[in-house]
């Protein structure tokens, strides 16, 4: 028994000695931190119904990283993008984000492409005290319940975009509205925001028809929509759902008797669906490359993107990927630090114009205050395959059309 104890204590001594050798000196760790890359996690649905948009987000985000690194990085530290596929599933998104934070040790998180996944990513980042700059639409993320000091929202929100579309469409096309809505957070928020803006103009909702996210066939809903005979049909869906529903509405001849609008008229969806399916459809967007005629920063951004990706132009959500990353990298430079609290302060003070004119993050909810661009789809006189939209109007950058901080539940 005593012999055994003895060997045990000897072994312990040996272990302690080994640990001392294995521990790297203090100064070496600091040196390593100064050359280690700044890691940004980027969860987004690379596969699934929104894959076209997600891929463009990742492409444009890489561009922002490249620019930062070519300009020398921050104190010699380069930035690195870690893209992960969240499969458009909130659970998967939370797991990937947790992995990015715990295993890959990312410093910040940017990304997401669904009102639902961004909330789960936000919840993880909030708990781990990691900055998350969301590049996907959501109203809930601004509200005090989901929001945290670590939450930034680079994308538009439904109140801004659906509101702008409602204010444009209702006086021009009529007051009887039918919604065809993807049955999840995004769709519900878009309907709510459109109705909120429409109410002031005396619009009435004839029906809000809900379809499951990722539905392939909408034909069963269309005879009823036709029979309801609204002035405006609002497609509150996204990605492939928008392509499919626009295509099938066209096939069923709905456009003959009503105007079709959508809160977010996606560049990628229009490319996938073709000119006939989207003919005459109007909607809102955060960005269209055609802005380059009037906005210098758009021209610079487009040219950089074209150069990097064989002449292709950036999409709306792609541009958000670029902007979301660039804001964080600029904030690091402004703060002269990668420490999260300092970067947050720098982001709050940031006034930027990366690609679409002036923007800033509102103090109370960190929502990027920005313009909404109203567009409609071209089917004739297209100069090339990128020339797909007409810019109808630009809703200027203002907090007027956003919900107030008090409405969101913040104490003012």
């Amino acid at each position: 028994m005593s012999r055994k104890l003895n060997t045990n204590s000897q072994r312990r001594k040996l272990l302690i000695g080994g640990a001392a050798v294995a521990t790297t000196p203090f100064w070496f760790n600091i040196a390593k931190a100064q050359t280690a890359p700044i890691k940004i996690g980027f969860p987004t649905p690379l596969t699934g119904a929104f894959s076209a948009e997600a891929q463009d987000q990742a492409r444009a985000a890489e561009l922002a990283i490249k620019e930062f690194n070519e300009a020398g990085g921050f104190n010699g530290r380069k930035a690195e993008l870690l893209v992960r596929d969240d499969k458009l599933n909130p659970g998967e998104a939370a797991t990937r984000t947790l992995e990015l934070i715990e295993k890959d040790k990312v410093d910040y998180v940017v990304g997401s492409l669904s009102a639902a996944t961004q909330l789960s990513i936000n919840a993880v980042c909030k708990e781990r005290k990691v900055i998350f700059n969301s590049i996907s639409q959501s109203d809930a993320i601004n509200e005090v319940k989901d929001w945290s000091i670590y939450t930034f929202h680079e994308a538009l929100n439904p109140t801004m975009t659906a509101g702008a579309v409602a204010r444009y469409a209702i006086p021009r096309f009529g007051k009887k509205i039918v919604f065809l809505t993807a049955d999840y957070a995004y769709g519900h928020e878009m309907v709510r925001a459109f109705e909120r803006a429409g109410k002031k103009m005396g619009a009435t909702t004839l029906a809000d028809i809900r379809h499951p996210l990722g539905a392939a066939d909408y034909s069963a809903f269309l005879p009823r929509i036709k029979a309801l005979n609204p002035d405006i049909l609002v497609l509150c869906n996204f990605g492939r759902d928008l392509v499919n529903s626009a295509k099938q509405c066209t096939d069923f001849g709905l456009k003959n008797s009503m105007k079709i609008v959508t809160p977010v008229l996606l560049y990628t969806a229009r490319q996938a669906g073709g000119p006939e399916a989207f003919e005459g459809i109007m909607g809102g967007t955060s960005y269209y490359w055609g802005l380059e005629d009037r906005i210098p920063s758009a021209k610079i951004f487009n040219d950089r993107f074209r150069k990097a990706y064989g002449g292709a132009v950036p999409s709306d959500y792609g541009a958000l990927g670029y902007s979301g990353i660039r804001s964080i990298l600029q904030a690091i430079k402004n703060a002269k630090s990668t420490d999260t609290p300092k970067v947050i302060t720098a982001l709050e003070q940031l006034k930027y114009d990366w690609y679409k004119g002036p923007e800033y993050y509102r103090k109370c909810d960190h929502q990027a205050v920005q313009s909404v661009i109203l567009i409609d789809s071209k089917s004739k006189n297209m100069k090339d395959k990128y020339d797909v939209f007409n810019i109808l109007q630009i809703d200027p950058t203002s907090e007027e059309n956003m919900r107030s901080c008090a409405e969101l539940g913040f104490k003012v």
Partner: protein, 304 residues
């Protein structure tokens, strides 16, 4: 807000025209279900293989269809060549993957084809990209036409007609040819066929290929009505299984009838309670399983 409210809400605008339109829409939807379920049930009835790769063959058919349409400009050429290709893929699948599984439990080929479906999806992502391809409605079939009670897309009318022709051809093949006779006999008693000197392995090979050819054909036929993407076969596989269960596993007549039934039920539920449309087809399945566990046209004990 309950179903009652929804019902009263719609009743005010309910006309006979709308009902007819909704039924026609349901038949068009059901056509694709019927075709897919027919392929599934041919394979199951003969080989007792539950082919989980059926949705993937459907997806491959849609991709190849759009690809050949872009290449040649002819929808009709694609319509001919696509089922040939997916049929040949089926030949190889049966000969080299499924055949070694015979004599083991029913779950062996099931798991194998399940794995195969993921391989096919990944291969499609690698070859054609993950965002899918824009589908094209063939020239001459675009736009809609007045069918008496409203405007209906021309292509969907074509889809119903094409499905009817294909089903008729398969019916004639099974009822009127020697091969059909062997297939029918084989699905009842394979031992007798062996005793009679029929090379059952060849029949299995053929049936599997016919099944996958029909899956590919359904894919190209469905492609102009929806977006073509690597995941398109996943939800429709589940729906096709519902159809086969409702119709009775292994019954071709059941597959067709149940396909149309499920399409119409889905369409009518969409009219009265759109939120429940997705659920409605599973309710149909549950009800059928309670009342007639073997399905509408099925024989009891096939799975045993």
């Amino acid at each position: 807000m309950g179903i009652g409210f929804l019902m009263s809400n719609i009743m005010t605008g309910l006309t006979l025209d709308l009902l007819c339109m909704q039924i026609l829409t349901g038949i068009a939807l059901g056509s694709i279900y019927a075709l897919l379920a027919l392929g599934l049930c041919l394979i199951f009835g003969m080989l007792t293989v539950v082919n989980f790769a059926h949705g993937a063959f459907f997806m491959v058919g849609a991709f190849l269809g759009v690809y050949f349409l872009g290449l040649t400009g002819s929808f009709w050429f694609s319509l001919l060549v696509v089922p040939l290709i997916t049929g040949v893929m089926g030949l190889f699948t049966e000969r080299f993957l499924v055949r070694p599984m015979y004599g083991r439990g029913i779950d062996y080929p099931l798991l194998l084809t399940f794995g195969l479906s993921y391989v096919l999806i990944e291969l499609t992502r690698i070859i054609f990209g993950i965002e899918g391809m824009p589908s094209i409605t063939p020239e001459g079939l675009t736009g809609s036409v007045n069918v008496g009670f409203g405007y209906f897309p021309k292509y969907r009318l074509f889809l119903i007609a094409a499905t009817a022709v294909i089903i008729l051809c398969i019916w004639l093949f099974i009822q009127k040819t020697r091969y059909g006779l062997i297939i029918k006999a084989g699905s009842r008693d394979q031992e007798i066929l062996k005793v009679l000197g029929v090379d059952i392995a060849k029949v299995w090979l053929l049936v599997f290929a016919v099944g996958t050819a029909i899956a590919g054909l359904s894919g190209i036929l469905a492609s102009p009505t929806r977006s073509v993407n690597p995941e398109m076969g996943i939800p429709i596989l589940a729906e096709s299984f519902v159809v086969t269960v409702v119709g009775g596993m292994g019954s071709p007549v059941g597959a067709v009838v149940a396909g149309l039934l499920v399409g119409i039920v889905y369409s009518m539920t969409s009219l009265f309670a759109p939120d429940l449309a997705e659920l409605s087809i599973f309710v149909v399945m549950a009800v059928v399983l309670i009342i007639r566990p073997q399905g509408l046209f099925g024989k009891a004990g096939l799975m045993g």
